[in-house]
Amino acid sequence: MKNNIKVERAKKNWTQGDLAEKIGISRQSVNSIEIGKFIPSTVLALKMAKIFGASVESIFQLEKQD
């Protein structure tokens, strides 16, 4: 699964720490999700979408192997 978290963060000019604080997780966890090492739960994905003002599908996309 790929994601556009970095792009969405850049649009808002947020650091990983800013995003982490807004969705209630640690900065290291934001990093793990952003680089695709950890697939977030539906709840966390929805929280991210809400905070970015975007749909979940626009932030997270399935890849061929998924």
């Binding site: 997780i25 290291q28 793990s32 905070i51």
Partner: protein, 133 residues
Amino acid sequence: MEKIQKPKNNQIALYSILWSLLYATCMIVIKKFDPSKTLGIMISFIPAITFVLFINRFIKNINLMDEVERRIQLEAAVWAFSLGLLLLMTLGLLDLVVTLKKEYWGNISFIIPGFFVFYAIGIVISRRKYNQL
């Protein structure tokens, strides 16, 4: 959005120290004062009280963690359990072939610290996996 609640690691440390101290005290009492069998059995179960408090705090702390950190803790626990089991089973087989020295591998108090080491190994492996090291 929910506010981040920081895990209380200092409380875990406090309870683990309490448990270790009580365990050591009970061991000294049993070894030095040679109590009756019934009293000895009762003393042996005393550290379980602080252990329950420690585990209770540890689990509460896990509930305060975010989902990535929870996964890391879960994987570390699986590593610790699996490696501990592997160690015990291997020693069990070895004991059939060569008699293990009671002062070293044949002694359970020599093996127990291994579980903490395995947990630490599990934490490192899992943190590396999720790019948190």
